[in-house]
Symmetry: D2
Subunit: 282 residues, 4 copies
């Protein structure tokens, strides 16, 4: 049998013997570990592990070999092939920067996602989707059609066998129910400032306050929109001479690269959930 490079990720309550048990299964299969990281979180009492292993074994063999261990330690776990592209749905409104960047990286930088569709509540970005050969779905959202639109999203997720939903400056709030149903599968990006600003026109507020840094945070979506577990953050330096429009443009740059890192790391199974935090193995 040909050799495959697998990614195994797992978490469980921390106790002695986990690494030995997992490594034992992989050694029995003559697997060669190429990259491996572990982390025990003293705060949550949980243990996290990510292993890349080359083995002449198929999924069924691996699953059956791992089963006794995963059961013994009460593990949450996942298994994937290195480089497999996750089926991804990108949700957008009018701002193009994140969509352009994700599609560029899928095509030219081997980001392991397969964007199976782009959903817009406006039609502005349809031509970009088309240039990259992606089906565009126009799902308008008004106060009255919100429930309908969300039903259409659920349909698309099911029909297209979607594994990951990226909110690429999608200016609509998903219902708590949908967030829960897709927990750990939806990544959002939003601007961040020090200090943070609540309410409308945050860049204008940041300008009024004369901030010297503007930032972006990418996080998993939970019911509470901007408060899910953080995956990645970054900042850009600004000064007094920048108008609000400049802050917005610089904000777009930091948003697109922050989101791109979060999506890549998620797609490579480097991000594990640890209560309200993430463990990012990179």
């Amino acid at each position: 049998m040909a050799t495959t490079e697998w990614i195994l990720t797992l978490s469980c309550p921390d106790r002695p013997g986990i690494v030995h048990a997992v490594a034992g299964v992989l050694a029995d299969l003559d697997g060669n570990i190429t990259e491996s990281q572990q982390f025990g979180d003293p705060a949550s009492g949980l243990f996290f592990m990510r292993v890349q292993v080359e083995a002449a074994a198929d999924r069924a063999q691996l699953v059956s070999a791992l089963e006794p261990v995963t059961q013994r330690f009460g593990m949450s776990w996942g298994l994937d092939v290195v480089g497999r592209r996750q089926r991804t749905l990108v949700l957008v409104s009018k701002a193009p920067h994140c969509l352009v960047d994700l599609l560029y990286r899928e095509r030219y930088q081997d980001m392991p996602v397969d964007v199976v569709g782009v959903v817009g509540n406006h039609r502005d970005l349809e031509e970009i989707a088309e240039f990259y050969g992606k089906p565009f779905h126009h799902v308008p959202v008004t106060q009255d059609t919100k429930a309908q639109a969300e039903a259409r999203l659920r349909e698309l997720v099911a029909e297209l066998d979607v594994e990951l939903v990226v909110l690429a400056r999608y200016m609509q709030i998903l219902s708590d129910e949908l967030c829960r149903d897709l927990s750990g599968q939806v990544i959002n990006i939003h601007h961040s400032f020090l200090p943070s600003f609540k309410g409308a026109r945050p860049y204008a507020q940041a300008y009024d306050r004369g901030v010297k840094l503007i930032g972006a945070t990418s996080h998993y979506v939970t019911g509470d929109l901007d408060e899910g577990p953080i995956i990645e953050q970054d900042v850009e330096r600004v000064d007094h001479s920048r108008a609000v429009a400049d802050l917005v443009a610089l904000g777009e740059d930091v948003e697109r690269r922050t989101l791109a890192r979060a999506v890549r790391w998620h797609a490579e199974h480097r991000v594990l959930l640890d209560d309200h935090r993430t463990v990012v193995f990179h």
Copy 2:
């Protein structure tokens, strides 16, 4: 008369002719402009200017030559000699990182401050002050002695002819009245996060939320403690493996360098107040 290099800073309502008028005064004195920056803020309608000029003129000559212009345009303005060290009082509690750094930079890096005294509400940092040959004033603060302590601070500011007060992790809140009286002369440093955290133990809150960046903000103190005009901000990257103690240590690094930049720029007259914002010419 020997040549002196002067720093002239000014602000006034923006209208045509300001630069020409100021440059005319300097040209009449045969002054040679070595560095100059201007900025008109469309939001506040104010104009800001900082000029470094070599001239064979003393202060009285410069002031009298500038007077007609400053009056005509209703300018707030200041005049200083390049490299003159501002008489500075540093207020501390127990954390040494900012004090150690400021005294190091005064002695070894030509930061243009002359630390004329260190005030501590605890005695922990007395030996550091002494190593650098700085008088240490122990001014304890309790709920009951707060007014007394503040009176002592005012005395020291007056006696020592203090131009700048630096709160170098001074864990006491100055009264609104003192803040107003020293407006534009007190610089503070505090941690900053994205998002920001209110209340006690902010690093523990940041840890719980799994932030990927920790930051610091240096600002002028107004009545409202952490909300004065921002002078400088910076961040440091962290990951899931960092304990709260690590975050604190990294926070100290970013605090000390952010404060050092703010103090240096203030002492070089590079920071001008523009309503709730600062214009920083660097």
Copy 3:
């Protein structure tokens, strides 16, 4: 006459009275200075100035008003309208990252360039040019056709009235003669490391040496390919786990943002040549 916002840039040997003289011309025209920066370089003895000014004057009026001053001080100078898009020719080979980014920023981020054509020595990037509605010129280069190809470039520069040439990972070396003829109008981007690596496969060399930072430098092209005046540099952090291919991908990110900043600042007339250095007013 309607008001126009002009950008005036100039440099000349440093001596007293320059700012006053220039500001006097602008004041006589009732011009309102919105942004202005000056810098006197003690090393080269040159003085540099960039002014943005709102005035109810056309180009001819400005030029004739400025003439006595520019002659008196022996100034090199330029005059442009804020926001005017510079006619730009982009030269590419096979790597898409810089081209995709520039065309995105022209269309969506108001970068003040008008890309009037894309030249490729390969056809790989033709479809990207077409998506953005840009004429693509295939100008293959072989050892034998190098002179011919360069003649074609000169024709295109002339026909299209090109003001700026951007080498967006164009893997060909321009002749010294062409570099001289287009001096100050050609911007290049290349990778940079600490330490730097000479010769072939620099990313592989950087990998072998275990560098922790990879960088990019954008510069004007002079005869000596990578040694022209530097406009902008930036870096990205890497670690031991990154393969050469990862370094290349991260290198693309830092190259595209470094080039984009250099092109924007050039197009906004923020970059002035100071011998082998640049003065960048931003």
Copy 4:
């Protein structure tokens, strides 16, 4: 027996079963792994591992339990207690920035080093050493006394039982022989630029070239002074207005923080040698 937290580091030719074997030893001792990282370098064919483990075992027990495994796989390995301070000798000349920073971090930030002495070829920094209670050894170096001085260094290393030598801007070159004898135990810091500059007065060269970033590299010392395996690098942004003296001051800031990180990571056994590269587990 009380529990101790151990750090185990190892490297060996990569083959299946390493993690399982090591984890097996630790599991047999009822050890609890708190942090663990592995890396297989496809380029060198070597496997690297760092484990922190809590175990009720003393050094002899651990060594004897590990011996069969380390022999079977041909491992280079080390064992230390978390937080134990490495006996460190700091070599300096006249520049204080790195020494001040290291001693500050030892005393106030729990950097796990025990500076057992400071050696200066000049007496300038003696008072700093004394303030921190460190014995200062004046070992002058001239062309004629170079061999003598190095003999004195060897004596100090032996007498003081030194584990780590830090060249904190020590402006002397160690002999190839001493470098070999202390291989992997000597850390140096030097400035770095993009591009790099050979020869004297590198900051002046960097100024002439108008660099926009200045950097620092910390590395292990091998015979070839600045070419040992890199541990850490960092940069700081500069612009045209900075004089050479400013570049030097900013260079000091980036040097001291780059060196501090390298020393901390070394002292925590996070840095493993991989041919000419380092694996840094952090």
